[in-house]
């Protein structure tokens, strides 16, 4: 579990983080969102005891990482554009990390296989592509089966197949009770992985909640309905429907005043509409954009 309380960080006169608090519970995946320069990386570096805050405190598994570095044994960290010792091979990086973390060496081979780097493990980091370095960094972060995983833009440079594969690994880790904190601009990943998102802008927290809540807050309740034209006619007559927008042939966005999805579905079916698909829109991109513009 990670607890961040009232963090304030100034660089000279510039306020990089302004009183941000949040926590990541056991078995929870939390994404830290925000535009470049919002303060996400500073927050992550504060959590990892790399940057001392001017105010506030951080706890990892109930301990202050500034005072008890031992707690970082249970933390895996994937750096933004990982900077690994360029003169070491991928395997040597993992072996060095295993020694420092006091983890058995047998895990090294398992993790290299997990990230698909077994055959390339004896090549120097300097000779890897960006995506390969990222894979090694992810494997390194997973050493010792950490209780806390912190990732700063872990998807930079990795291919979609690996992205999908590693997503499953994060999911397994989460199910085993790990707390995961990630910053990312890949909103599709955020949507698929996150239990909660925290949106920061100009150093301040502007939103905290589920992806659904973020969309609801900034875009309202939008239901995507696919079926016949009757959907539009029936929905328009309902008093809690703000508007109906035809997106393509047989596909409609129904904007609701409040979350009355069940009633809407019932009315559509009783009204004789043919409904093939019915789901709440999670247009995170648009919600994110609106949240930032409003902030």
């Amino acid at each position: 579990m990670i607890v961040v309380q009232g963090i304030v960080k100034k660089y000279g006169e510039k306020l990089a983080v302004d009183g941000v608090s949040f926590q990541v519970n056991k078995g929870e995946f939390v994404s830290l969102l925000g535009p470049n320069g919002a303060g996400k990386t500073t927050l992550i570096r504060v959590v990892l005891a790399l940057i001392k805050p001017n105010e506030g405190k951080v706890e990892i598994l109930g301990k202050d990482p500034f005072k008890d570095k031992g707690v970082l044994r249970n933390v895996g960290y994937v750096q933004e554009l990982p900077n690994l010792p360029p003169f070491l091979t991928g395997r040597q990086v993992l072996q060095l990390s295993a020694k420092i973390k006091k983890v058995g060496k047998d895990e090294v081979d398992e993790l290299l296989a997990l990230v698909g780097m077994s055959d390339l493990a004896d090549r120097q980091i300097a000779k890897y592509s960006k995506g390969m370095v990222q894979r090694i960094a992810i494997a390194e972060a997973l050493l010792g089966d950490p209780e806390i995983l912190i990732m700063d833009e872990p998807n930079i440079g990795v291919d979609p197949v690996f992205s999908l594969h590693i997503r499953e690994t994060f999911d397994k880790l989460k199910r085993r009770g790990a707390s995961i904190l990630m910053t990312s601009h890949e909103l599709e990943d955020v949507k698929k992985l996150s239990d909660r998102v925290i949106l920061v802008h100009k150093g301040k927290k502007v939103f905290e909640g589920g992806v659904e809540d973020l969309v609801k807050k900034y875009l309202g309740v939008i239901v995507v309905v696919e079926g016949n034209e009757a959907i539009q006619e029936i929905a328009k007559k309902l008093d809690y429907v703000k508007k109906v927008e035809k997106v393509s042939e047989g596909k409609f966005y129904v904007y609701l005043e409040e979350d009355k999805r069940e009633e809407l579905l019932r009315e559509l079916i009783y009204g004789g509409a043919s409904v093939k698909t019915f789901y709440l829109s999670q247009d995170l991109e648009r919600a994110y954009e609106k949240a930032i513009n409003n902030a």
Partner: protein
């Protein structure tokens, strides 16, 4: 324990600048012995023959004048700073590694590497002097001389290591430390000469207060009153002997501990930035 120290060895050896300086130092060592052995002039040989039993001193003291300090600067200037430049400091400090441990092991790794290179030079010196010039005398002094050489090399090693940490730039650290070494040597040489000619002791005093005094003089002062002092003086980069062993020891302590302490304090208290471009 000591994983970071061994890592530091690898890191330093991976640098071409360090490898080039090691190669130059070793070739220089070989070259000097070959030159002394193959000297064609009979007159010079007549002068050298009484010194043959002390030829081990040449190889042991030769790097001390300048090469060893450059090697120390070369190794130490990148020790901390390159971790910031490459962003690899995060790799260690986001693990169960205290800042004190990281700092100490980095320092220890760099300095033991320097010591190891010097030991290789000493072994070469012994091998060449025994094989080319026969039995060697006073070799019992070797441990003390080697210790004094390494102790005095701490001055520019620590200055460079500390500037690297303070500025977080390896090239700046190398340039500034080298400039201090060369500048200090030149200024103190001039000051000592002026002091001797004018009999104004303040000049000599200022010369002895500069970092090059303890760094370059300590082993020479120790061997100054030996039967082979002629050989010792020939190897000395300082123009005239001045000062005492105690003042040289104090100079080494002051110029090595103050910067190291300051950089340790800064390392413990400063934020660790993202990769320094």
């Amino acid at each position: 324990m000591l994983e970071i120290m061994f890592y530091e060895w690898r890191r330093a050896i991976a640098r071409k600048k360090v490898i080039a300086l090691i190669a130059v130092s070793l070739f220089f060592e070989i070259g000097v012995y070959l030159a002394l052995y193959l000297v064609p002039s009979k007159t010079v040989r007549v002068i050298l023959i009484p010194l043959y039993p002390y030829m081990w001193v040449v190889g042991v003291l030769l790097p001390q004048s300048l090469l060893l300090h450059f090697l120390a600067i070369s190794i130490a200037s990148g020790s901390m700073s390159e971790e910031y430049e490459q962003g690899t400091v995060d790799f260690f400090l986001t693990k169960p590694v205290t800042r004190t441990r990281f700092f100490l092991e980095k320092w220890l790794g760099s300095f033991t590497l320097l010591a190891l290179i010097y030991f290789i030079m000493v072994i070469m010196a012994l091998a060449f002097s025994y094989s080319m010039f026969g039995a060697q005398y006073d070799v019992g002094l070797l441990p003390i001389v080697v210790s004094l050489v390494l102790f005095s090399s701490l001055v520019f090693f620590n200055i460079s290591f500390s500037i690297g940490e303070m500025l977080r730039r390896s090239s700046l650290s190398f340039i500034i430390s080298s400039s201090i070494l060369i500048g200090s040597l030149l200024i103190s040489d001039v000051l000592v000469i002026i002091g001797r000619f004018t009999h104004i002791s303040e000049y000599v005093g200022i010369g002895e207060a500069l970092p090059s005094f303890g760094a370059t003089q300590l082993p020479f002062l120790y061997l100054a009153n030996t039967p082979y002092s002629f050989l010792v003086n020939a190897l000395d980069i300082y123009p005239l002997h001045s000062g005492s062993i105690l003042s040289a020891i104090l100079s080494v302590l002051a110029y090595s501990l103050i910067p190291l302490g300051l950089s340790y304090f800064l390392f413990i208290n400063r934020d660790v930035p993202k990769r320094v471009a």
